[in-house]
């Protein structure tokens, strides 16, 4: 029997991963109306950056061997760099394109990254062991929780808090918030479009790297297709939260994580394999009831 405390930790840690992935998507959508479907591939790319490029079945740690105080900032930079590069190579040329054209391009970019990973690392999932000691359980509030789960929860709070601080207190944050609300007006006041958009991609890529670190440690697997599932959930979270709303994306990420864990725990055994069908039914219901998103204030005007 799983205790309530156990359920709580499961829900918050899974929700935290979804929230960070959703934030990565919402940040970019906010400033340029682009749903970047390559975001899941940034995550996979960052996971594979941990191991030596080879198509051998056995993964040899590469960056993953570095001590944490080096590995974490390095991987965040790699994620940010990959995202900024993709902006420079692909999306910068599509600034005047329709949102649909940009979205399709992001799919294409995702396939390019995925196939590059396939060619370099082979298609078979590889077992990797990053910080295995973090999976040792600790007793807290009467529940046995892997240490990693606590770290995930803490780092989610840290990441969300740092991002909120950055948006609230820095020049770039102010410009990003202004640009997210009215890009043309911000530019008329001298805000450089390139700086704001590159900044959004860098933050989004760093968030992808954070998710990659957590997933790699938690699952112990590097799989070329690992970005797809999380991307789907994160995208749904940004829609439910209200596209472009950062607090909405975080809240909806946690909500989906919680719903998923609760369904897993309380659905009758025979229907439990169909948990996702129930989860997505809830998603549809929420979109029918509040198509503008759950967390969008009623004062918000439609974006033009």
């Amino acid at each position: 029997m799983t205790s309530l405390a156990q359920l709580f930790f499961d829900a918050v840690s899974l929700g935290g991963i979804y929230a960070m992935a959703a934030l990565g998507i919402a940040l970019i959508f906010g400033v340029m109306n682009l749903v970047n479907f390559a975001h899941g591939e940034y995550i996979a790319f960052c996971v594979f950056a941990l191991i030596v490029p080879s198509t051998e079945a056995v993964a040899v740690m590469f960056l993953g061997k570095a001590p944490a105080f080096l590995l974490i900032p390095l991987l965040l930079m790699i994620g940010a760099g990959a995202a900024m590069l993709s902006e420079y190579v692909v999306f910068r040329h599509l600034r005047r394109a329709t949102p649909v054209a940009m979205m399709i391009s992001s799919f294409a970019l995702g396939f390019v990254i995925q196939n590059a990973l396939l060619a370099t690392y082979g298609g078979r999932p590889k077992a990797i062991s990053l910080w295995p000691e973090l999976n040792t359980p600790v007793a807290i509030l009467g529940a046995e929780v892997p240490l990693l789960q606590l770290i995930v929860i803490l780092s989610t709070l840290l990441v969300v808090g740092a991002l909120a601080l950055l948006l609230k207190k820095t020049r770039l944050g102010l410009e990003m918030r202004a640009a997210a609300e009215n890009f043309t007006m911000a530019r008329l006041l001298g805000v450089r479009a390139n700086v704001v958009i590159t900044g959004a991609f860098a933050l989004s890529g760093a968030l992808a790297a954070a998710v990659a670190l957590i997933m790699a440690t938690q699952t112990g697997v590097a799989d070329v297709r690992m970005g797809g599932q999380i991307m789907l959930v994160a995208f749904i979270a940004t829609v439910i939260g209200g596209l472009g709303s950062l607090p909405g994306a975080v809240a909806a990420g946690f909500l989906i994580g919680a719903a998923s864990i609760l369904l897993q725990a309380f659905l009758p055994l025979e229907v439990r394999p169909f948990r996702d069908a129930f989860l997505y039914t809830l998603v549809i219901a929420s979109l029918l009831l509040r198509p503008q998103g759950l967390f969008v204030p009623s004062s918000a005007k439609p974006r033009i």
């Binding site: 609300e181 007006m185 008329l188 001298g190 450089r192 004062s299």
Partner: protein
């Protein structure tokens, strides 16, 4: 050399022409009103000068620098600022954050705090509500915020699109009083879209009349108000030329 020079400017949206070969000049420190019926091209003119609207022909210069082909943020950096139609306040930002958005382009970062205090002096209500969400301000207060925000870029030329739109006449008087005062203090050059020739005449300045995307009149605002040449422009008659 004039402050702002517009030479043979044309703007079209697809195949629909909005401006045809417009030429006009503003002198340093001048106050110029642009008037004309809906669809005359007033907002297209301001959009083209600010870089927000693409031009199809002609060129625009400010202080001898070519503006055409530059991005809006680059034009803002040359010293042009805009108070757009409908004010376009950042409603999710606080009043003070709105004022700070446009300060990123300034080299004299040290002067920013003093300038913000000056804006609060000119518009005390903005100072009282500096930490409030700008979306909660009234229309008149938002207009003042939009003017204050444009001033915070420390512009040499400021364009104001229909400051009277949707405001009570008393508030409009207030807005114009402040604009005139600010202009005198700072030596600004002002380009203002204003529908009412009597209002423009009362404030004082030159007036340029647009119709169908062309300049059909240019002269002192009081002359337009007296002769009511505006109505001729609205209802369409021969090309008018007022004493230059």
């Amino acid at each position: 050399m004039s402050k702002l020079g517009v030479f043979d400017l044309s703007v079209r949206y697809g195949k629909v022409p909005a401006l045809n070969d417009v030429t006009l000049h503003l002198q340093e420190g001048e106050r110029v009103f642009v008037s004309g019926p809906n669809g005359a091209g007033k907002s297209s003119l301001l959009g083209a000068i600010s870089g927000a609207v693409a031009t199809s022909h002609g060129r625009i210069e400010m202080d001898g620098d070519l503006l055409t082909g530059r991005a809006p943020e680059a034009i803002a950096r040359l010293g042009l600022s805009m108070v757009p139609e409908g004010r376009e306040i950042f409603g999710s930002l606080t009043v003070e954050e709105n004022l700070r958005v446009g300060t990123g382009l300034r080299r004299d970062r040290g002067a920013v705090e003093g300038d913000i205090a000056e804006i609060y002096d000119a518009f005390p209500i903005l100072g009282d509500r500096r930490h409030a969400s700008a979306g909660a301000l009234s229309g008149g207060q938002q207009q003042m915020l939009a003017i204050g925000r444009a001033l915070m870029t420390n512009p040499k030329l400021m364009m104001v699109d229909e400051p009277s739109l949707g405001l009570a006449p008393k508030i409009v008087d207030q807005v114009y009083d402040t604009l005139v005062q600010l202009q005198e203090e700072r030596g600004l050059t002002l380009l203002i879209v204003e529908q009412s020739s009597t209002r423009a005449a009362r404030v004082g300045g030159r007036m340029i009349l647009l119709r169908g995307g062309s300049v059909v009149g240019d002269g002192d605002a009081s002359a337009f108000a007296e002769k009511d040449l505006l109505s001729e422009a609205y209802f369409g008659q021969s090309k008018l030329e007022v004493a230059q």
